[in-house]
Structure formats: structure tokens, C-alpha cells
Point group: D3
């Protein structure tokens, strides 16, 4: 089951690229235990959003390739949020490791029903695939969570950024939000500023 | 998607219900050609949203049960929108039957890149699974589309309604949109009014 | 569905080829809105079968790659057919855009039950995965349909061509159809002629 | 694949029925080893088609429910065929247990290419999902095969019976086979007779 | 995973039961936020195996039904093990919450290669679907882990119990382990005793 | 999810390789009937395990690529076993072609219930996905079976070899089997010897 794309070292042509819908597998003979390990999740790491107050540390394990799971470690400062968002290709289950958060999701149109709870250390909460959810640290101590997603490539859409940080026409956003273009432009300016 | 195993009226106990995750199949011996037919899509029908200016007529074909497809006929008045939304469990492909619309989708965080085109009669446009998209009739004639979705139960989330028509806390929505609680309350009032 | 990893011309060996079971993905950074668009379905196009009287115009949208859908625009002249056929890997749902057709499918052995209707503009009819179906324009005006299939690669088998246009032995076909070799040879000659 | 929730005979109303798309599972506590066994495949059994000369003995193992496989034992008399057919929902792999058969399949439109071999005891041949195939005992001894199918419910469509044993209109079949209505009626009469 | 369609008590016949391959869905109108919550994972709970020294607390969230994930909280005393085992229907990813463990898996026949690491707080380790793995607390403090499995119903097979706690014939086990029946009987006695 | 096969031309390291998770497809134009055939299963062939007394002859059919099935021909000498094992990614159904075997599987923890039968020529027995099973020729004649597996890549784990032929620590194996390190070392020596 091996496909070798050998090249001659003399090749002067532009580098060929193959875009796979996923990640190629490592040579099984070269696989080591470290390919299944990701260390240091007990300390914050990864990308921080100062605007929203969260840090997301994605678990990187080459050995999970094709296994349909991914995991992320989240830190949220007091007053911070992981803003209203969804994952187009995954359900999510989050465990609170430290602190307390208000966590929940909203059901589909036309109900838009809120299912939410204040979670404390040791609580687990689940979000069905693709539904809008959020995480709000409305306490006074930092909160830490460990989230499991049911896809190797869950995707992430932040509702605010999708509406205001891209190139959607102002009048379309205004019609979607039942507001006026001026309000849309004011919020767009905030997304540009921060 | 509810299957009720109704009892004879003599039963004094509350009717037991079994909720299937889907729809029960018809007795094959009782199936007729009409179970595979849905007529009248050439005329508007189904649910109208006066607020947004669209009418959605969902194709109801019992014989499509378990086949992983669904279809909808959309009419949008001039100036109307099918507002920014997504389907949690489906990709979509839409064919313009009449008129012209500005149609597109937004890619995931952090790019929020807009892929959109003005579509005319005979144009087909595709939206990958779960991505935010919209339909804006910015012309002067009514527009009609036929959309195919890659799930029997695609789901629908309108971004505006999700943020403002449900019970999400004002400060959470404000933090998500980088705005203030007053703006959130003003928009919420519009969703209550219409 | 072929991905060729072309070599430099200096290579004296035959060009190696890798056949993917599908189509390679485009570099995401190079993707544009046109990759999700297919235009001109309001006019006939694509491959015409003069023998049967239909023209099939397959929707070509690179952005639909891996999304499990495909679509085709069909024109059938009065008296023409899309002859009895099936798709090995897809269910189908067809919408009549113009004209009127007799459309239906046949259930499995041993029932071979016919489920068929005369469809008019705005009617939608569904065919379960892999079942034999057909489209017969027995009216006096051209008919136009838009068919959605639940696979990126649905496949197509025409029953007549499968039996008579390939290399199946005459006596096997005769035994399958409970007829004699002479009748089989006569029909085969018609398939060769046209 | 029908699950009937039968009522007490006192009920005056028509018996409600729930048709599951599959077979209900047995109470795990009541499962025994016999639920995984099917005996006697070394002797012909099951349904015989005198018209075509084959006997099909389907393996019935309750414990295979939901496991995505099914199996059948086939006996074909000299000169007999399992006529040209396909399975809408499965690939097939057949092992010759006794005798010799001409076995093969036809690729999709427009190639209709024949892939076939004379198989002898101990030969295995594979047919991709949904493609037209056949089995012809053109030897002098009975042939026996064991076929594995990649679906619990593969389905079966015989091309001849689909075209001539059901209610397809004569002129549609004639157009599909590039022949005339008289030839179609003659063959239909043979299907009625036998 | 049993759904009982209970009858009125007047029914003299044995109660019919329908065993679903899974769990029936709740009436959507009756769903509440608590259906997505499981609390108290910060404290040991669930089933304890004194023989091996571990306690497993399975996350019970009705709202995760059909979402293809499950989760378990594990406590292992110093010197304790979650003995060599596998999950027939899931991959696993484990996060160390407290303490330190030796954790790893063994590849398939014929390599039987060991991939293992000593994990500390904050380390995550992944096990491909169905492979044999283990967890050994060879430290002096209790260890706590949170494991995510890529199936709603992953299953569990302990290699020792499978070989010695059931009814496998002694000589079969002896041949499997390249040992003698006396050794097998001695070990079996230990499984009976504890 | 982008794989760039870029190398600097100066690279002195071994040629990079891309391992596909599967097998690349053949050029369709080059496919011949032999690609769907595997001959000679009526005679033993393939890999023999003298230690256990079985010979496994795996069916190699390029045309089965991606079709989700595999097949194997097994010969077991009198007194021989296909020792206790499982397939991480497949269910199995075995047909006895010659002789007689004791065949069965063990259910999951905590039941470890044995489901087994003595099978004779013409008997078929099924094993659910991933469960521990075995084949014991406790008769006096050679036994031959044909097994079908519901995956192209089912995998194989022998419980004895997994525990004793790899590098699992002695005390971990001892704790798993409720025995002592001396017994483990004695068995390990047997696996090294043979």
C-alpha cells in the first residue's frame, strides 16, 4: 500500500504540489511512540485571542490521522468568552478542568431554543453536530476546558466574525439582523480596530 | 420525525410514544407511485417569511426516506433575502429557475473569505457542508431557485435569529459582536416586533 | 478522476501515473468563486444521443468535489426517451422544468413492479438507489428536467446497451431474455447500425 | 424486514404496523450460538428457477444483522444461467466450489466492456458494486458457487425480467432496445408462459 | 439499549419487546439542558475493579445519542492497571489529569510492536481503532485520566478475562499461549477466586 | 490539510515517500478481466504457521480495491488451531469446505460468554466485528474454510502473540492475567523458541 513519488535531485522545475483532502500517512516502519503523544496540555499554549479573552491549544497527534477525533485545550480569562460559534463537521463534548463557565448551545430555526448551564470543575457538556454554541467565563477565576470533537477536521465559524470581519455587503448583513447599514458599519469598524 | 404507536381508545394510560431518529418506513405492499411524487413546484407554496421576503416550499416525498437527499423551492421578492444562514448537516447546490440573485458563502475562521456571484437563470452554485451562505435578490423581478441538499434532514440556522431571537444573554452577544448591550437590545426589539 | 504527477521531460522512462479514486483537491489559496459555479443550464448543452432523442448536460462544479452530489440537465425531444437505465451508486430526484414526461422506476426481482407517473412542469419524482428507471417524452413539446443524484460519481448503465452493445455472448443474452439467438443478433445489428 | 407490533385480538381497529428499514435486534440475553450458524450449504436448497436452471440458497444468520454482509450458495445445471443481473446495493465476490462456469460483468455506459473468465474450482471472481453480471454453466457438470455480498440487503434486478416481466410499456421497451413492439410482445409472452 | 413497548396490564400474553440497536430518541419537546450535562467527574465514581485497581466512571449524556462519541473518567491506584484490553468499535485518546502512568498499545500480528510512553499530567496519548492497549500506574500517587472514544458504543474486551474468565476450552487456550493445560487451569483458578 | 511534496534539490537524505492509506487505483484503460480473478484456492497456499498448524491463503484481487471486502482460505491440520484472535476492523463469516472444526467467539467484558459450535462441511458461522474468536480442528482429518471479512483491511491480532511475543513488560502481563512474572517469562520463552 505504498506509493513512492521519487524525484531526481536534478529537477529544475517548479515544485509540484499535490493537495490531498487530508494528510498523507507516515511510513509505518518509521512510526514511533512519539507520533501518538502530545504533551504539555496542563499549561496554556497555542493561539490567544486577546479580543475575546481565550487561548486555544489544539492537540497535534500525527497518529490520530484518519481516526475521526480531535481535541483542544481552552483557557478563558474572567470576563472572557469563546464567542458564539459552531463547527461545520463535528459534535463537541467539553470537560471543565478548572474554574467555572456558562456554556450552552442554541437549537435550529425557528425555535432558537437555548440549552445552557453553569459548569464547574468535573462537569461535561455536549453540543450536537453543527449547532451554535458558546463559552462565557462570568466568574472571577480563569477557566480551563478540554474539548473533544467528533471529526479530524471539525472547522470553526465565529458568528460575529463571519458577519462583520469578512466582505459580506452591509445591506445584506443589515437585512439579516433586522438593523440598518449604519449599525453594521459601526460594528465592522470594531472588528477592523481590534 | 416522530412515530406514534397509537393505542385503542379503551386504553386508560397515557399514550406511549417512541421517537425515532428519522421516519418509519411504509409497508412495502402499500407503497404506490404517489409516494415518490411531489407536484406543483412551479407555483410558490409553503412557508413565507414576510420579514425577509422569501417563501420556502419543501419537497415532501415519502419515498425519499433514508436516501440522503432533500430539495426545496425558493421564491424571493425584489429586495428580499434568504438571510445569512447555514445547514448543520448538508452541502447545498442551487439552480436559478427565474430572475437573478446575488448568492454566496463565507469560508471558516479566521479567513471569513467571501465566495459569491450574481446568478442568472440556468446558473448553478454550490455551498460546502455547514458553511454560512445567503441569497439576495438585488434585482427588480422575483427570483426563483431550486436547491438540493445532501441530507434528508439538513437543518437550518439563521445567524441573525440565532443571535437575537432566542435567549442568549445580551452581554454574551455583545462580546461576540464587539458591540455594546444597548445595540444588542435594540436589534432584539426588532426581532420581537416583526 | 486522474491525477498525473508529470515528470521533467529529461526523464527517459515512461511517465508514471497515479490514478486516484476521485479527483485531487485544488490548493485552497487558489480557490475562487468560479470554482463553485456552473452557468448556462437554461440552454441545452452537453452530449446528445440522436438514437434515443435526449441531450444530457452534466453540471461541472470543482467545488462539489467530495460533497456527495451531482446534477444533470436533460432535454428530451417529443417521442424521445432516456431509455431504461440505472445508476449503480446513487438515488435520483428529478424536477420537470418544461414539458411533460412519463417517468418511473421498476422494483427489484421478483416483483418488477412499475411505479410511474406522467409528470408536468413543477413535478418532482424520486428513484431509490440503483433501481431501473426511465423517462419517456410521449407529448408533443420538448421536455426539460433537472436531476439531482446522491453521489459525486453515480455511474450509468443503459439496459439495452449493456445487453446488446457490448460483447455478451448471444446465447447468454438469449437465455436471459427467454428468446433465441436470431432475435439477439437482429437487435445487436440495430445497435451497431445507429 | 418487517416488524409487526401485533395487538390483542380484541382490538377492532385495523392493526397498526411499523415497518423498520431492517430487522429488529434480538434480546441479547436470549442470544445463543445457533443465532450465528447456518447449516447444510453443502446440499442444494432454497429457491429454484426452473426457467433459468439455477438454485439459490441464501445464508440466513440472525447474528449477521447490521454487519453489512450477506452470502448465497448457488447451483447451476449444465446449460443453465444465473441470467444477466445486478445488485443495487452491493459488490460481489464468488468462489467456485464445484464445476466450471463462464462468469463476468459489463462496465458502465458508454463502454459496456466485458470482463469475464471461465472459472474452475477454487477460482474467485469479483464484481464492483451495482454492475451488470452473469454466470453461465456452459460445461457438462453441475456448478456450485458461494457468493459474498457487501450488504445485508443487496437487492437483485434481473435485466430480462425487469424489461419484460413487469408493466413497462411496449413502446418504451422497444425504444430502449432499438427494436419494434412486436418483438417486445413476443418476448413478453415467453415471460408470461414459463 | 432496550426499548420496551409496554402493554396495558390487562394483556395476558407475554410482553413483546423490541430491541433497538441503540437507544430511542427523547421527544424533542421534552428535551432540557440537563440532557446534555454530566456532572461530578472531578470525583471518582462508577464501577471499581478491586482486582486490577481501577475505577471507571462512564459519562452518561442522553443528548450524545447518535453523535458517535463517548467518554470515561479513570482512576488507577499506585501499582494498579487498566489491564491489557481493546475496544472493538473505537479509537481512544486519553488525557492525564493527575499523576503519572505508563500507557501504550501493541500493533497487529505479526509485528506486535509496542508503542508506549510514561505520561504525566497534561499529556495526551492516542490508540488506533481496535488495537490492544493498557494503562499501568507504576508510580506512588493515584492517577486520573479522561478518555475519549470515537463511538457511542465502543465495547471492551480484557485479554486476560477473555482467555481465562469465560468458557474457552483449556487446550485451546494452552495452544493459543504455547503453554500447557495445567498452567491454564492455575490461571483460571485465579480468575475464579478474585 | 495540504501536503507539499517539496524537497530542496540539495537534500542528501533518503527519498521522501508518501504512504497512502490504501492502494492507488489502476488506470481504468489498462484494467483487464484478470484484475478481478484469483485462482487456485482449491489448493493450500500462502503463509503457514507451523507453530499453530494453520495455513492462510489470502485472496488477492486488485479489482476489489475500495469495495470493502476481503477473503481468505484457511487449512488447519488435525490438532491445529487458528489461535484465539480478532480483527480490529471487520466482521467475519466462515464457510467450512472440508473437514470439521470447533469454531466460536467470546462476547465482550464483563460477560465473556462463549458462542461456539462444531461446524461440518457446508456450515457457515458469523463473528461480529472485533470480537475474539478461534478455530480448532479437534478432528482427525484436515479442515478447510473460506472466510469473508467486511473490510478491505481487516487487521489481525493474535491474543497470545500480543501478550507474549512483543515487548509488553512482564509485570503488566502478569497483572493482566492474574499470574506471576515467572509464569509470564516461561511462556515468553516458548514464543521465542518456536
Amino acid at each position: 500500500s505504498t506509493l513512492t513519488l521519487s524525484r531526481t535531485s536534478a529537477s529544475p522545475t517548479p515544485r509540484p504540489k499535490v493537495h490531498e483532502n487530508g494528510v498523507a500517512c507516515k511510513d509505518p516502519a518509521a512510526v514511533v511512540a512519539e507520533d501518538f503523544l502530545f504533551g504539555g496540555l496542563d499549561k496554556p499554549g497555542g493561539k490567544t485571542s486577546k479580543r475575546f479573552g481565550f487561548t486555544a491549544n489544539q492537540v497535534q497527534i500525527p497518529g490520530l490521522n484518519t481516526l475521526g477525533e480531535s481535541h483542544v485545550h481552552l483557557d478563558v480569562v474572567p470576563g472572557g468568552v469563546f464567542p458564539v460559534h459552531y463547527h461545520p463537521r463535528a459534535a463537541e463534548t467539553a470537560l471543565v478542568l478548572e474554574g467555572s463557565v456558562y456554556f450552552g448551545f442554541v437549537s435550529s430555526y425557528p425555535d432558537n431554543k437555548l440549552y445552557a448551564k453553569v459548569l464547574r470543575k468535573g462537569d461535561v457538556f455536549a453540543v450536537p453536530q453543527g449547532l451554535v454554541h458558546f463559552l462565557y467565563n462570568n466568574g472571577t477565576a480563569p477557566a480551563t476546558l478540554y474539548a473533544s470533537l467528533s471529526s479530524q477536521n471539525p472547522g470553526l465559524v465565529l458568528l460575529g466574525n463571519s458577519l462583520f470581519a469578512g466582505a459580506l455587503p452591509d445591506d445584506l448583513v443589515a437585512k439579516t439582523l433586522l438593523t440598518d447599514a449604519h449599525t453594521v458599519q459601526t460594528i465592522k469598524a470594531n472588528f477592523r480596530r481590534s
